[in-house]
Symmetry: D2
């Protein structure tokens, strides 16, 4: 780490910092400028907290040198992770992943119908909510266990992996029994107990970026999961909160190249939650693929106006089919395929 | 609700909207302007989803008339809630609440010492973390059950209520056994399963505003707790995420008068987490009280540089004592007391 | 407009609102619900300010029905504007616009060299800064008049339109004498005097979105220009300010489909200022085109490390040439061309 | 500056960086860690751009050591600036400044009446808009020259300094002829030509923080003015743009202690523009004073519902008088006076 001293730091203050660092096994390298002194310190950061130095007299700032995540970082593993999610589907390779399905599992017949439709259009993973996080306590919260069984049936019938969210540490075992991919929703990205729990699962984890999380915090959430031994983490950019209100969230398209520079984990674009409006889903899906995402997650519903949740952002099946055609051409233009 | 039709909406589209509303028991009142038609609809919103109308052909926008929360709203209960948290302390009345203590419970001796110090300075509620949400999986996560026992001992010795965070539905019972006030942290403000679980407790809940939550979402989180039967909810403004980086978060001081207009629930200001820097804690604490908060929550530590977490924002005991003097004078200036 | 009364609004309050509206020539349509009364009002909004109603006793909210911009709106003009910028180049049609060049005009030889390079790679409009807005008063502020002459010479030699920024009402005449397209920078998007002044020019205006402007404010800025008689406005999305710091700004890719729904004006994507980092420029440029932008603006420099400004986000000529190849394929995939 | 090299930086890359720095007169101090090399560089930063180093092969990050502003910094001048604004009023001392008046100057009689009222209540500086920045080109833009004369008359009659905004470089001379304090509005905080122009005036400048400006950018705007020779700059916090919509902007109360740590310039709180709602103005004004602001700017109007602009945030005279009483008590509580 690097310690920047105040302009008017006294000699004794500088010495005190050096002594403390030395005591904890650091090698120190003071650099005396005309106005400021800076101290470079080489050693094992786990021996001392940066705060312990920051709060010493005369210290202006402490600049860390190393990134806080290790297992998720590209420095640890340079080649891109290609994650096997079952049924012959992998995420992170040349072929793009297309997660599709209704927001919530609303019933057996409906989900099976939707699943067949999205498969026909080219989706290779089924999505659906059995446990639904809802802003209002009075809204539909999902079919829960029943919903999981319906999804499993659809996955088995069509030979497709299924992805669904878990919201509570108490439900992890149950969800893991049915799902091929376990989703951590945006609101739970820093539910650290839940992250640890899914980290103990032997299932790939679909980790949505928090509503107002930095990319670093997101990778730290991945690190939580990986630190428990589960390295099959798939990132999902789903829009961040900004002052702009014409879309529900602001899709941070730059997060795609940024994460791909920092981590070996694959990334999926979710244009449905990002925009909250079916009119903009297609444009953002195309943008995500063109920017280098490893796939998309799209909500599809045959009757958006009667959907149990998120109707306004759901694509009708024919629009989804059209979008898939466009995405195939864009994927080809950049050397990927669907 | 009010339905605003597109400029070029056709007669048939307008009729279709009216018919659907009528079918669900609404009385409709179309208003034909020169360019636009607007339909007022009176009825029971639970019979139909706004989306069902929004997605009809020719509809531009649907404007809700009622606020989404009921139990938390001032329309339901006009007088301010004064919440009894035990040991003769109430929150929401003339006397201000002062929650103080170290960020994390670090050990028995230390916590008892800190507790006595903050009591002497004028605090009336003890705070401390037994379960700690940490951005990094490699950071200290709290003493957990052991920490709860230490806090209880301090509360019993000093005759003060204790407030501590719960992060996992599986720990609610345990925390409720020891704590007088259960805290829901900012990162869990929309952990809906946890909200329901603490809603079933017979303990006051200290509900921190989410990192990037709107005031409406915050009141909906309170509504979750209240909808389970627990109406003793205390709000806590602890700073929101903005683009400004000179403080850890941006303390939204206006949230104090805004919540006090919308809800009967009391509100506490947390200048420590809002600023992340002990130098600014005093100014923001004074601002919070002057703006009408019902109290403050402040982190105090005798050795911030060796604190297990949040050292940089902790006040040393003598600074806390000085601040309490100033707060007493400000409280008096606005007709409150400490 | 629609007036929503408070739950407990009195009869006299409701009548008073109706009377005032009637006095100003509005037709009123009260709708009495179980809890709330709502008044629809049809008339000429210019006769009265919404605030005049909002501040009346018993009024909770006033909801406008009409969008505040007219000339810029798609309701006025449904077909997309195709803007002729000279030298046979149009913006808004099937063929995409590619603005390229160094951030600042640094000297005659250098600018001519850069111009030839970007033309060879496929750019059809030259960009460069003669007047440079700089955060620090001590930074290079541009060659000013000298820079304009250099740009003009390059434009004439290569038969390409040139685009450059004006920052001061006093310079509009001078810039208009040399430039084919006049840029209003992000920091001046609400410099209303400057907007009016360029509105009086007979030149297309390149209007960058403000750092933290909503799409509505941006279209109101376009309206300012258009209200002076100049309807050749080209929008440019260049990233907005958010809490995320891994890129300089956050490119709001959804702004492309949103503006294309609301206005007939064309839109250009600027990935250079949005990301502030050459590593991410390509991904965001591709995303912008895939999302439906009418072109891009990219900074190109043969020696980014010696650029007078914005070096870190400038592409080297060979990278720009490669990017153009990819953009051509993506454009083809969505039915556009470069 | 400090140069942090990539984990896998090669020896030649490290040497190349050192050579370039040496060539420009820097003394370099490389520090070789187990994984990373860091280079401390001492010298005159004006000799080389940080980008020139940042873009060299193997460089990960360049960390500046010095703050970018000098004249505005507390390092240059430790004691607080007390700015004389005429008529015996100073800003930055023990006595607080109270700027009050209507948003816009609407007419002679009205402005004189308002001025007398606010003086009686305890205001010591008159505020009013002669040139008004308006989001819509169709809104009232101010009485301009006529408004300036009216303000001057009121100032002369009551023996009070007047503060009014200038929006255009072409109007600086005119405004300076009438006003005692010249305001730079939030939307023009980075209108660098205007900053330079008012820097050449011999009048105190009231510099509002930009809508989405960081504190550092704000101090750089002050630096622009000061670099032209005018060191009488008064900062004004007026709320920043965030995702929260229940107030027009979010008043950043922490900006008060933060600026007071970084600069010697005084700071004023503007609760009117920050909240946009008269109901919250009082709470935020009190918070600003309690947090240490050197005064407030408040909009007062006897008929907010007929105000030409910003009615909803204007206090009626009696409410302003009441607020002044409370502010006097709070000021006394913290050792200031009104």
């Amino acid at each position: 780490m690097i310690i920047i001293m105040h302009d008017n730091a006294k000699k004794e203050e500088i010495s005190a910092v050096e002594e403390k660092l030395t005591k904890f096994g650091f090698l120190t390298h003071p650099i005396y400028g005309e106005k400021k002194t800076v101290i470079g310190a080489i050693g094992d950061k786990r021996q001392i907290s940066m705060n312990e130095i920051l709060l010493m007299s005369g210290v202006e700032k402490v600049v860390p040198i190393m990134r806080p995540y290790k297992l998720a970082s590209k420095e640890l593993k340079q080649e891109k992770s290609v994650i096997d999610v079952g049924y012959g589907v992998t995420i992170g390779g040349k072929k793009l992943a297309v997660f599709a399905g209704p927001c919530a599992v609303e019933g057996r017949e409906h989900f099976l119908k939707m699943s067949r439709l999205v498969k026909d259009a080219g989706a290779n993973i089924l999505r659906g909510g059995a446990f639904k996080p809802r802003t209002s306590p009075y809204s539909f919260g999902g079919l829960e266990g029943e919903g999981l069984k319906i999804m499993r049936e659809a996955g088995d019938e069509l030979g497709m992996p299924i992805c669904t969210e878990v919201m509570d540490t108490r439900d992890v075992e149950l969800v893991a029994e049915y799902a091929d991919i376990i989703q951590i929703g945006a609101r739970n990205m820093q539910n650290f107990k839940l992250l640890r729990e899914v980290g103990k699962c032997n299932k790939p984890i679909f980790l949505k970026r928090g509503l107002a999380s930095t990319i670093e915090e997101w990778l730290m959430a991945a690190e939580y999961i990986m630190s428990e031994g589960n390295d099959r983490v798939i990132l999902c950019e789903r829009g961040i909160r900004t002052y702009e209100t014409s879309t529900r969230n602001t899709f941070d398209v730059s997060a795609i190249p940024v994460t791909q520079e920092l981590t070996h984990l694959p990334i999926i674009a979710d244009p449905s939650h990002a925009t909250g409006n079916y009119k903009y889903v297609g444009a953002v899906a195309k943008a995500g693929i063109a920017a280098g995402a490893d796939g998309i997650m799209v909500e599809v519903h045959d009757c958006p106006e009667c959907a149990a949740s998120d109707g306004p952002q759901s694509l009708k099946p024919d629009k989804f089919t059209e979008l898939m055609e466009e995405l195939r051409r864009i994927a080809a233009a950049i050397g990927r395929e669907i």
